[in-house]
């Protein structure tokens, strides 16, 4: 049907797309007899019905007057067709069709003409408007972008970028419910054939798709009543479906008059009750639960041993509907994130639970996250497309919200390089603006951003609405957003706030929220949206997940404790039992404690990376044993060894080593990499243990020793002189005793090539950290690098399985002085 196009906000004024059949003339713009290029543009302007008698203006780059804009105009006929000529014009061009209060835009991509006399097609429709909006990232709206169009837009309007914008548009239209056939008809809305229905003429597939878009809009324009919508949000859940420790996320501080009260908080079973209460307060079904990233990853044992399937299952039960990906969703790489999204078991070979696959859900299945992960700024460098959808549109009666989800651009610096290999993380604000423009152009009432980046306040109780001292990495992003963005749900900093932030770029307040972490609170965001007008009002509260237990009695006014939801509680209990069972499996035996180097300071036991770690050396032995076709030497960074292995443990036979033990010691999911290093490179590598900046990166406060001592495999031995000053510049260290570096008793040959095996953390040079992981740049210089795809934990398990009765290795590093 050819209905009215919905109201939409352009340049702060309300433009209304009314479709009418009005007679018009085809006006051909006159040429000026110039000897320069002549670009003729023709096409059809339509919103479903033809856009008749509209003035079409083209603004193109000029080949005769470089740096200037060449223009041309035309007028549409009754069937919406137009034709115009741009003297001296070359692509790119911006196009605008205007009639009454309607303005639609389109473009000619930069690569679509190269001068001379060229004819090209450019339809002007709501679909092209969305493509145009997607490219207009630095403008608040498309009309402003058109007015400011300049000849230097070649890069922005390249064919590649236009194709990306087109794909983004199709994704949004898909989320609006357009069928595969409709989407197929819109594959190239700018240059494709468009036949609008007019008189006896039947519209073609493109025209029908435009009708479908129009149907998604407010066909009932008489109903413009405000609509209340409730958004419930969490962030940084990190798989904490059990209540977190009271000293680590499990307590929140409430204002209590002029004083405060601390209460224990968190736990999925309690959160489920809170969410149900919030839903009951919402306006019917007008609510949605969203996340701002790090919902999984860096999770407690009960979740991590299931590769976070347990947490996903419980988040599904909580009704999570969509979330930004956070940096921790990339901890185990993109393939694993896709499995988390789409489902499927993780095989034992790929790092499932030892001896079996994952899939602990009833029926040995894993159906994946029912909620949608969004990643608007994460680009697969091979395809130049986002690795996950960028946006999600949800309708609430007569209004709709367009959500944009994304992680921080700095994600690569906070996860293993192998987890983000082949991915590009773009700057956040420009991406948000681009999609916000597209979403607004598609007719959504409001735009909400879910971003895994955040800020901090200096409040000392939660839900301090004055938002004191708001600062952090989110601030410069907020100050670059355009006015199309209404709400930002943030995370990452583990902080809690509900702030009205005065964005300098948007020229208005943007509501910004974050909940803390580990599920200790929920942001309750209440919006009033009005068809044709947009956001009318927005407010938010941080609501703590207060457990109904004895210690939480006498709560301050306005707060209440929560009982457990029975269904979710049963799931939590079930997964805790399953994870305990999985972790209790025996994988080997030891004859005595095998520990890291540690020291005690101020009553706290701390890992000592300045001294040789027996357990780390044993881990290096497991690397060596796992090397395909063998290797000469293995290196492990001391930070990879996260716990000690004890001979005596409560409730089990002395000397038994379990999966839980080993996965606790080696939790990072790195793979093993082989490479070749020369003898002199190995010597340099050893010197880097004390060269700047490693000499200050790790210190032993009790013995005043410094440096970061690599764990090494059996056969390699060396001595170092502690009297030689540490902290030499890179390449200038001289602590290793000359001639002391030996392999199986034979001095290392400086010119010989040795096969080395290490983990992916050490071996991959992270582009965002050019100093190299842990400052061991030599390992990024190895030749013949090969990622064996063998998980470090699997190598460790296999080593224990093959070597019963292991004990602490004899020291391989000798300290002189």
């Amino acid at each position: 049907m050819l209905g009215n196009w919905n109201r939409r906000d352009i340049s702060g004024t309300t433009a209304f797309f009314a479709v009418s059949a009005v007679a018009a003339l085809i006006v051909v713009a006159c040429g000026g007899g110039s000897s320069g290029s002549k670009l003729t543009i023709s096409g059809t302007a339509a919103t479903g019905a033809p856009l008749a008698n509209a003035t079409v203006t083209a603004r193109c780059a000029s080949d005769r007057y470089p740096g200037q804009v060449s223009g041309g105009t035309g007028t549409t006929a009754t069937d919406g067709k137009y034709f115009l000529v741009v003297e001296n014009g070359i692509a790119p061009c911006a196009l605008e069709a205007a009639v009454g209060s309607i303005k639609l835009h389109s473009l000619v991509a930069a690569d679509d003409s190269n001068g001379g006399t060229v004819s090209t097609t450019a339809n002007i429709t709501p679909a092209t408007e969305m493509v145009f909006a997607s490219l207009a990232s630095d403008a608040g709206d498309t009309a402003a972008y058109f007015a400011r169009f300049s000849s230097d837009k070649g890069a922005v309007m390249s064919r590649t970028n236009v194709n990306l914008a087109l794909q983004a548009t199709l994704n949004i239209l898909q989320s609006l419910g357009l069928s595969t056939d409709d989407l197929a008809a819109l594959q190239d809305p700018i240059r494709g054939t468009l036949l609008p229905k007019s008189g006896s003429q039947q519209g073609n597939a493109y025209d029908k798709a435009l009708d479908k878009i129009a149907e998604n809009k407010l066909t009932d324009t008489s109903n413009t009543s405000p609509v209340q919508v409730k958004i419930m949000a969490i962030n940084d859940f990190h798989g904490n479906f059990q209540p977190p420790s009271a000293t680590n996320g499990g307590t929140v501080v409430l204002a209590n008059g002029a004083s405060t009260k601390s209460v224990t908080a968190g736990g999925a079973a309690y959160m489920a009750t809170l969410l149900n209460q919030m839903r009951a307060k919402a306006n019917g079904a007008n609510n949605i639960l969203v996340g701002a990233g790090d919902l999984i990853g860096a999770s407690p044992y009960a979740s991590s041993v299931t590769n976070d399937e347990a947490a996903i299952d419980i988040l599904n039960a909580l009704g999570m509907e969509l979330s930004a990906v956070g940096n921790h969703e990339f901890d185990r790489g993109m393939a694993e994130l896709r499995r988390i999204q789409n489902g499927g078991c993780r095989s034992a070979a790929a790092g499932g639970i030892v001896g079996t696959n994952t899939c602990l859900q009833t029926g040995n299945t894993f159906s994946g996250a029912k909620y949608k992960y969004l990643a608007a700024n994460v680009i697969d460098t091979a395809t130049s497309k986002t690795v996950l959808p960028a946006t999600y549109v949800k309708r609430f009666g007569t209004v709709s919200i367009g959500f944009i989800g994304l992680p921080l651009k700095g994600t690569p610096s906070s996860v293993s390089a192998s987890g983000v290999a082949g991915l590009r993380f773009d700057e956040e604000a420009a991406v948000i603006n681009r999609y916000a423009n597209t979403l607004k152009a598609s007719g959504v009432t409001s735009v909400v951003v879910l971003i895994h980046q955040g800020g901090q306040t200096t409040a000392s109780t939660i839900n301090d609405k004055t938002c004191p001292g708001f600062s952090g990495d989110i601030v410069p992003i907020l100050n670059q957003l355009n006015s199309n963005v209404d709400v930002v749900v943030s995370g990452h900093t583990h902080m809690e706030y509900a702030c009205n932030f005065p964005s300098t770029s948007a020229g208005k307040n943007i509501l910004v929220t974050s909940t803390g972490f580990y599920g200790n609170a929920v942001s309750e965001i209440d919006l009033v949206l009005q068809p044709g007008k947009g956001l009318v009002s927005a407010s938010a509260n941080t609501v703590p997940v207060i457990q109904n237990i004895a210690g939480n009695a006498n709560l301050p006014a306005g707060f209440s404790a929560l009982d457990k939801d029975a269904t979710v509680d049963a799931m939590v209990t079930s997964y805790v039992a399953k994870s305990a069972l999985a972790g209790a499996q025996q994988v080997g035996t030891i004859t005595g404690d095998i520990k890291r180097a540690t020291y005690v300071l101020n009553n706290s036991t701390t890992r000592d990376e300045t001294n040789e770690s027996p357990l780390g050396d044993l881990m290096a032995d497991s690397y060596l044993a796992a090397a395909p076709l063998g290797a000469d030497i293995a290196f492990v960074n001391p930070g990879s060894v996260r716990a000690d292995l004890l001979f005596t443990n409560p409730g089990r036979t002395n000397g038994v080593v379990t999966l839980a033990d080993l996965s606790t010691i080696e939790p990072f999911g790195n793979t093993l990499t082989t490479m070749n290093l020369t003898g002199s490179q190995i010597l340099r590598l050893l010197e880097q243990q004390w060269e700047s900046p490693n000499h200050t990166a790790k210190t032993n406060a009790s013995t005043s020793t410094v440096g970061r001592i690599l764990c090494i495999s059996k056969g390699l031995t060396y001595s170092y002189d502690n009297n030689v000053a540490a902290g030499a510049a890179s390449g200038a260290g001289g602590r290793v005793v000359a001639g002391s570096v030996k392999l199986n008793g034979v001095a290392i040959d400086p010119v010989r090539s040795y096969k080395v095996i290490t983990n992916s953390y050490l071996s991959i040079l992270n582009p965002t950290s050019p100093a190299g992981p842990d400052n061991f740049t030599i390992l990024s210089q190895g030749t013949n690098k090969l990622d064996t795809k063998i998980l470090d934990l699997d190598a460790f398990i296999a080593y224990f399985a093959a070597n019963a009765g292991l004990s602490a290795p004899v020291s391989r590093v000798t300290r002189v002085n």
């Binding site: 680590n248 901090q456 000392s460 706290s604 996260r642 716990a643």
Partner: protein
């Protein structure tokens, strides 16, 4: 140059000692530009160090200590750094960030000594960092009144994550 007799010095020190126990009494003696130094350095500490808190509380504490050291000869700036050290950690205590409380206690102890020496009232000092001063000052006094025993911490790993955690008694 004026000189003071020994008795005058003793009287002065006695008076100073009495007044120093009540920082409010010295509020008027702090000049606006000195207060501004406290405020500016607190803001500098916020810009420089605050974001370390969620990544590694120890790095936050180290960052504050380094800033304080940088200004060790500029006492108002030094006070600003350590006061923010307290407020920043206190703000993360509201969501029970591991390690926030001992850091807040550390900087509370150090800034209180300097606050008294420099003669800033609680109210004047609180105003240098945004927030609810009634509640913050109450929390400050509560922490002073009943300092918590520092919990022994250790690196504890469970499955995929390692954190600083309290030592568990067997």
């Amino acid at each position: 140059m004026a000189t003071m007799s020994a008795s005058a010095i003793c009287s002065f020190l006695l008076l100073w000692g009495l007044l120093a126990s009540s920082p409010c009494a010295f509020a008027a003696s702090v000049r606006p530009e000195q207060l501004q130094q406290v405020k500016d350095t607190a803001l500098q500490a916020q810009d420089l160090c605050f974001k370390e808190m969620y990544r590694d509380p120890n790095a936050y504490a180290l960052c504050i200590r380094n800033l304080r050291q940088k200004y060790e000869k500029e006492e108002y700036k030094s006070l600003g750094a350590e006061y923010f050290g307290f407020v920043g950690a206190l703000s993360y205590m509201r969501v029970s960030q591991m390690g926030a409380e001992p850091i807040a206690a550390e900087f509370l102890k150090s800034f209180r000594a300097n606050q008294k020496r420099l003669g800033l009232s609680d109210g004047a000092l609180c105003a240098t960092v945004p927030g609810d001063c009634v509640i913050r000052n109450r929390q400050m006094l509560d922490m002073e009144k009943s300092p918590k025993q520092q919990v022994p911490l250790q690196v504890k790993c469970e499955g995929g994550v390692c954190r600083i955690a309290p030592v568990q008694k067997p």
